[in-house]
Each structure stands twice: as structure tokens, then as C-alpha cells.
């Protein structure tokens, strides 16, 4: 039963990613797909932190910023291959999350929210202000990953759009697989348990601060890799990637789709990535409609789109 939830989610994801290009009206949709996957990856991290462990963060874009700027800076300053820069960014994010998480995860609810917000703002401020290193708010070029050229010499010639669609899709499936593994593992169970009742979790021997910290670090790595992929794909990055709005966007995607489930969160990422593209027909009314959609979804599907609909499909018999 639980096994099928995991395999069903993964199979559906793989099928969607593999088959969707058959229906693309133009090459532009590869770009949209790749963005959905990048956002989906970050949001999967939010599911682990917020959906399962019950801890909110309003500063996770900071980690995306670290991942992104690692790819911009490490190849230039450290001579690192961009692929290794992704790992470096993830490592730096993990260490930072571990250091910052220890004191701030003692806080609860909104207090944790404001503390993580402060952390995110500090990171984006450094990216904005340390011009000599980051080139400031106007942004910085990111080197080419080089993988596409390598594939070409190996006989696989993909367009830029196709390449990033495929790569981000693969990474998302990998990220979802890891997260779904975690869900039914001892650690995942413990995270969900401490969300349910912290005091009970402690009495059955769970080291609550350590577990929260693990969730925080793991989700930071997800955000960081997502930031790296965005930077490498865009070949250019600005400190906006670490901004408050990006953090809020991550949480909104997760909650809208259903923060408790990986499938829901990825769906939320897809909706909020697609929506602005579809709403362009509304021109000046775009913001209005976007806000309206968010409010209506939360009123009528309050647990998020996917869990609410699943519950309705199963019926309320229980």
C-alpha cells in the first residue's frame, strides 16, 4: 500500500516528463518544463522540512542563492568544474544550514519564520553588497556546464532547451525518489512524528533537535541544487534568486499543491510556474488573477490541491 504510493508517484512523474514533449506546440515549452522541474526540486525540500517535520522557513531562497553563486564563482575563482561547483554549493549550504539551524530551530512557528527570514535576507544582502566578488545586484555570468557539448561529441545532439529539460527532469526524479525513500524510512517517520507531537516524539527516544536539523540541512541541499541548476541553465544569475520573494514562492508552491506530499508539491510548482505564462493574456490583470487563484484554491482545497482531491476521490467514508 505504502510502496505503491511511492512507485505510483515516481512512475507518474517519469511518464509525464518523458511524454509531455510529444504535446509541446513549440520549443519554448522545454524551457517552462525545465523551470517547473527546478522549482519542483526546491519545493520537494520544503515538503521534507515543512510538510513532514512541521518547521517553516521563509529564507530557503538563501540556499538557492548559495547554490547559484557557487556555480557562478567557483569555476572562475577556484578553477572548479561547474558540475563540482553544484556539489560545493550543496556542501556550503549544508554546513551553513547546520550552523544556523542549531540555534534557530529551537524557535517555533512565526518566530522560526522570522529567524529564517533574517538568515535569507543576510545571504541576499551579502550577494548584493559584496560587489567585488558577486558583481552586485546587476548579476553575474555563469559558465557553461559543458555536458551538452560532451553529449554532442558522444553522438547525442540536443538543443539547449531539450538538454535542460532532460537534465532537470532527471534530477527532479532523483530528488523525488530520495524524498519518497525518506518518507517511509525511520528518519522520515520520526520527522512526521515530531510534527504530530514533539513531546511524545521525545518520550519515545527521538532526538528532536537533531531530527529537525537533519530536515533543515536536507531541505537546504535541495534548495541549493535547485539554485545551481537555475544558474547553469540561465547562464546568468542575480541576487534575486536569494530574495525574500523567492522564499515565499517556494512555500506557496508547496502549500498550494499540498505540503504533505511530494506529488502535491511538484504539482504546486507546476501550477505556479505555468500560471504566469498563461495569465499573460490578462495583461495588466495578471496579478489580480494570480492572487485570486491563490485565495480560491486555499479556501476550497485547504490542504492543498493534490491531498484535497485525493481525499475527495477516496470519499470521506472514514
Amino acid at each position: 500500500m505504502r510502496l505503491t504510493t511511492k512507485t505510483a508517484t515516481l512512475l507518474a512523474l517519469v511518464a509525464l516528463i518523458a511524454l509531455a514533449p510529444l504535446f509541446f506546440p513549440s520549443a519554448f515549452y522545454y524551457r517552462v518544463g525545465a523551470l517547473i522541474f527546478v522549482n519542483g526540486l526546491a519545493v520537494t525540500g520544503i515538503v521534507i522540512l515543512t510538510g513532514w517535520a512541521g518547521q517553516i522557513s521563509l529564507g530557503h531562497a538563501g540556499f538557492a542563492g548559495i547554490g547559484a553563486y557557487a556555480c557562478a564563482l567557483a569555476p572562475v575563482h577556484l578553477g572548479l568544474h561547474p558540475a563540482l561547483a553544484i556539489l560545493l554549493g550543496a556542501g556550503v549550504s549544508a554546513v551553513l544550514a547546520w550552523l544556523v539551524g542549531r540555534p534557530i530551530l529551537r524557535l517555533k512557528g512565526y518566530y522560526l519564520g522570522v529567524a529564517s527570514l533574517g538568515m535569507g535576507i543576510l545571504i541576499s544582502m551579502v550577494l548584493n553588497n559584496e560587489r567585488d566578488l558577486t558583481r552586485g545586484p546587476d548579476g553575474i555570468d555563469v559558465p557553461d556546464l559543458g555536458l551538452r557539448a560532451a553529449l554532442k561529441t558522444a553522438g547525442l545532439d540536443l538543443s539547449n532547451g531539450e538538454f535542460w529539460y532532460a537534465l532537470c527532469g532527471i534530477v527532479l526524479v532523483l530528488g523525488a525518489w530520495l524524498a519518497l525513500n525518506l518518507h517511509d524510512s525511520p528518519t522520515g517517520r520520526a520527522l512526521r512524528a515530531l510534527h504530530g507531537s514533539e513531546v511524545a516524539a521525545r518520550t519515545v527516544g527521538m532526538d528532536v533537535p537533531r531530527l529537525k536539523l537533519q530536515a533543515f540541512v536536507i531541505s537546504a541541499v535541495y534548495a541549493s541544487v535547485s539554485g545551481s541548476l537555475l544558474a547553469l541553465q540561465n547562464r546568468f544569475i542575480t541576487p534575486d534568486v536569494a530574495g525574500f520573494m523567492h522564499s515565499v514562492e517556494m512555500v506557496t508552491m508547496a502549500v498550494l499543491g499540498g505540503v504533505g506530499s511530494v506529488a502535491g508539491a511538484i504539482f504546486g510548482a507546476a501550477v505556479l510556474t505555468l500560471l504566469p505564462q498563461m495569465l499573460t493574456v490578462f495583461a495588466e490583470y495578471e496579478q489580480l488573477v494570480l492572487g485570486l487563484v491563490m485565495v480560491l484554491v486555499m479556501i476550497f482545497l485547504r490542504e492543498g490541491v493534490v491531498p484535497s482531491i485525493l481525499r475527495k476521490l477516496r470519499g470521506t467514508g472514514e
Binding site: 512565526y110 533574517g118 513531546v199 489580480l288 492572487g291 486555499m298 479556501i299 490542504e303
Partner: protein, 290 residues
């Protein structure tokens, strides 16, 4: 010495702006445990409605009154149309609703008004008041007075009036509040009206200093939220002190250390305070009952 005084004046001016925004958060939070991220839009509306009513010929005081009442009505509408239908939803869903509402209001404002930056004349002119070689604008005094007045009003409301206690009771336990006969839907409506009205008043008072445009809400909400959390969410005293502390920190850091990292200093202090006082400076202490 005169420099220090000027930095303090600068800090108090900014701090009073933050305090006014922070105070707006307290009522809705107290009634529903929801931090209303659309609070900044209320502030924006206060300024923008006043600007456009004034431009349309209304005298400034009337325009300001219209702005406060109009925004309060909008707050009520927001509660009726967006918050009340979602009653019982998880708090995080409610917070997303307030974020959605703020995007909606901002989107509407850019259509109804425009995307330009606006201001209106200061209430008592622009001639600075000189104190020991430092200066402060009369409008800053208006903002400070406004913050203190709203604080006093809220403090009296929550401690001295039956209605204010009903608001607190509703937040503590909605069901119990209903059982003892508190009309909780009315309390929620009132909370939104008051919060929105206070937000709009903040907008009216600060616009001659900060100017306004359809998108000023977010930045103000962010600082106001931080100030409220620093002081302890839900406590008017916390909002006032939190706002002033935040402003003074920014002013003094800009003056003595680095203007580039003044916001960083403010957030570092918030992190430090929360490390020792996890509920903020004046927050209620909560213990898990098991």
C-alpha cells in the same frame, strides 16, 4: 554629539514607521493566530487613497478619513470573502490566503490608481525643527505621536474593554469563547476592520516622509513583521518597542558602522534576541500542556 542626536532622530523616525505597521499586525494575530501578510497593503491603500482623494479635490483631513474608512471596509471584506470561508483550515493555509490577498490588492491598486510614486504635503509643513544642531521634520513627530496614540488605544482596548478581552479569548480558544457567549465572527470582523484601519492610518501618516506607490506594501510589511516578532507578536508594547529598536539600530548602524549592512545589523540583533528570548522581548511564554 550633534551627530549622535541626528542618528537617533533618523532612527526614531524610521522606527515609528515600523512600529505603526507592526501595531497593525497585533489585532488580527490576537484574534486568529494568523499573521496577515496583507497588512502592508493596508498601509499602501491608506497612502494611495488619500493621494487620489486629495487630488480629486477633497481636503487632506477628509481624504485621510476616507482612506481609513475605505481600507477598514476592505479589511472587513477580506475577512468575509477570504478568511471566513476558510475557517478551520491550517494556519499555514490561512497565511497563504493573506499572501494571495496581498497580491490581489496590489494588482487591483495598480489598475485603479497607477504605478507612479506619489506623496502629499506634510501636515505641518516641511520646515525642520532644530534641536541642538540636529533636526527632525514635523511629520516625524506626527508619526511618533500616531504610533504612541495607536499603542495606547490598543493597550487600553486589550486590557480595559470587554471587547478587547473577547478578542484575546477568541484566539486562546475559539470554541470556549463561543461557549461563553462571545460572538466570534463579529470579533474577527472587528479585528480586520481595526487592523486595516490602523494600517491605513499608518499609511496616511508616513506617506509625506516615505512617499507611496502601489508596491510599497511588501517592504513595509516585512519590516513591520520583523519588528512585531522582535517585540513579541501579539503584544502592542512589543510592536512599539520592537519598531523603535529596529529603527534605532538601523540609524545607528548607518551612522557609525556601515550603511550597506544596516539591515543586516537589525536582523542579527533579532536573531540574537530570539536566541535568548524565543518569544521576543515581550511575548507571552507558552508551555506545552501534556
Amino acid at each position: 554629539m550633534s551627530e549622535l542626536l541626528q542618528f537617533l532622530f533618523s532612527g526614531v523616525t524610521v522606527g515609528a514607521v515600523y512600529a505603526l505597521v507592526a501595531l497593525g499586525f497585533t489585532i488580527i494575530y490576537n484574534a486568529s493566530d494568523v499573521v496577515n501578510f496583507a497588512q502592508g497593503e493596508f498601509v499602501m491603500l491608506g497612502g494611495m487613497i488619500t493621494v487620489f482623494a486629495h487630488a480629486a479635490g477633497a481636503p487632506l483631513p477628509l481624504a485621510a478619513l476616507l482612506a481609513c474608512l475605505g481600507t477598514a471596509a476592505l479589511g472587513v471584506a477580506m475577512n468575509k470573502l477570504a478568511i471566513e470561508p476558510a475557517r478551520g483550515a491550517p494556519v499555514v493555509s490561512l497565511v497563504i490566503i493573506t499572501i494571495g490577498a496581498s497580491i490581489f490588492i496590489r494588482g487591483a491598486a495598480q489598475l485603479v490608481f497607477d504605478k507612479q510614486i506619489h506623496s502629499f504635503p506634510a501636515f505641518s509643513g516641511d520646515d525642520p525643527i532644530r534641536i541642538l544642531q540636529a533636526t527632525i521634520l514635523p511629520q516625524s513627530l506626527w508619526v511618533i505621536a500616531g504610533a504612541v496614540a495607536v499603542f495606547t488605544g490598543l493597550w487600553l482596548f486589550f486590557t480595559r474593554t470587554l471587547l478587547g478581552r473577547a478578542v484575546l479569548a477568541t484566539s486562546n480558544n475559539r470554541l470556549a469563547a463561543q461557549l461563553v457567549g462571545i460572538n466570534t465572527p463579529f470579533v474577527m470582523t472587528l479585528s480586520f476592520a481595526l487592523s486595516a484601519g490602523i494600517g491605513a492610518l499608518a499609511g496616511v501618516l508616513v506617506t509625506p516622509i516615505t512617499m507611496t506607490s502601489y508596491d510599497v506594501g511588501l517592504a513595509l510589511a516585512l519590516k513591520g513583521f520583523a519588528a512585531a516578532m522582535l517585540g513579541g507578536m501579539g503584544n502592542p508594547k512589543g510592536a512599539l518597542v520592537g519598531g523603535l529598536v529596529l529603527g534605532l539600530l538601523e540609524g545607528l548602524t548607518a551612522g557609525y558602522i556601515s550603511s550597506q549592512y544596516k539591515d543586516a545589523a537589525a536582523f542579527l540583533v533579532i536573531l540574537g534576541v530570539l536566541f535568548f528570548l524565543p518569544q521576543g522581548l515581550f511575548g507571552r511564554k507558552s508551555t506545552d500542556r501534556v
